[in-house]
Symmetry: C2
Subunit: 202 residues, 2 copies
């Protein structure tokens, strides 16, 4: 069986878990500490990030974009990532956009986690928050369809919106993004793995 | 012709420029300011990052990983990214590792650019510098081959090492990484676009 080094809150991990569930690929979950990574984990990924997918042979793959491609290939190919052409590039672009917005979200979280309040810098926080706000506004104006078997762009969007709920519950994205709200309701109704991988705000 | 929104120092832009040159695809370069992005650029990429590739139709693609796939597809496919299987995943993993190390390098640069010295946080700097050091050590221990037509993993590695030269010239990576040093010398001798896209340290 494939092993996934993971942590429950990670949106990139969640993307992989939902993809695997949709493709019918079981994963054995094994926690990893990314803030104080141990030697065994660093031996699996020298930059100490999750998710990492590990085959029974010991071969490992990262990052999440490579892993979703691995899983799609494992499932026969062309399932959650179109095989080629514009359809493929459009899906990968949507994934890149959602992952990029998530990168900004995580930098905002790290700003709180690694720095005392007096050490936080407004210019940096505003720079990242601007990416999030503009990214969500773009997605509201260009809300993607929802395929019967959601593609990795659509899975990434659901994980982005779920991460806003988890880490920024006081900033209610639903208020100003009614199309995304309706889209996520449909996604959740259609994809049981979304609720199954939800982590409650602490 | 395809247009690339770019800035000369960006290692992700450099990856795209080298890929395009190797594939014989001309690009029209157009500068973009990512620190204070203007409305036109944000209309092309809401999160304000480079590179962005723009077709004559106005259709645009990001981020660099999607663009290199676009370029490979444009050139017929299977040129700088193997079409499928383990060969493909290995190349994509090497690209993900080098991009991940670069992400840490850029966070170190931003630490200086967005924060006065008194506002910098050792724990964060050490966290990112650890990723860089371990990543380079891993690559020294597992130096990849160099294909006659370099693949995107190999191009990404060259851009990572070039970025260390540009932004961290006082930290001589060559001293402790003789295999990577020899590898980059071969890459540079083989790929004229590497020297053509080099930016001198300021």
């Amino acid at each position: 069986m494939l092993t996934l080094r993971y942590a429950p809150p990670s949106p990139y991990v969640r993307k992989v878990r939902i993809a695997a569930d949709l493709l019918g690929i079981p994963l054995k979950l094994e926690a990893a500490d990314t803030v104080s990574p141990d030697e065994a984990f660093l031996g699996q990924n020298p930059i100490g990030k999750i998710p990492v997918l590990i085959e029974e042979t010991g071969e490992r793959y990262y990052d999440s974009r490579v892993i979703v491609e691995y899983l799609d290939h494992h499932a026969g190919g062309g399932k959650i990532i179109p095989r080629e052409g514009k359809a493929r590039l459009d899906v990968l672009r949507l994934q890149a956009l959602c992952d990029g917005i998530l990168d900004a979200c995580l930098l905002l979280i790290y700003e709180g986690r690694f720095r005392e309040p007096a050490m936080r810098v407004t210019k940096w926080v505003d720079h990242q928050a601007g990416k999030v706000a503009r990214g969500l506004a773009y997605l509201e104006a260009h809300t993607p369809p929802l395929d019967r078997l959601p593609n990795v762009g659509q899975i990434a969007l659901a994980c982005l919106l779920g991460y806003r709920d988890l880490r920024f519950p006081d900033q209610d994205w639903r208020k100003d993004h009614p199309k995304l709200r309706a889209w996520l309701e449909r996604f959740e109704a259609q994809v049981p793995a979304f609720a199954a991988t939800r982590m409650k705000p602490e």
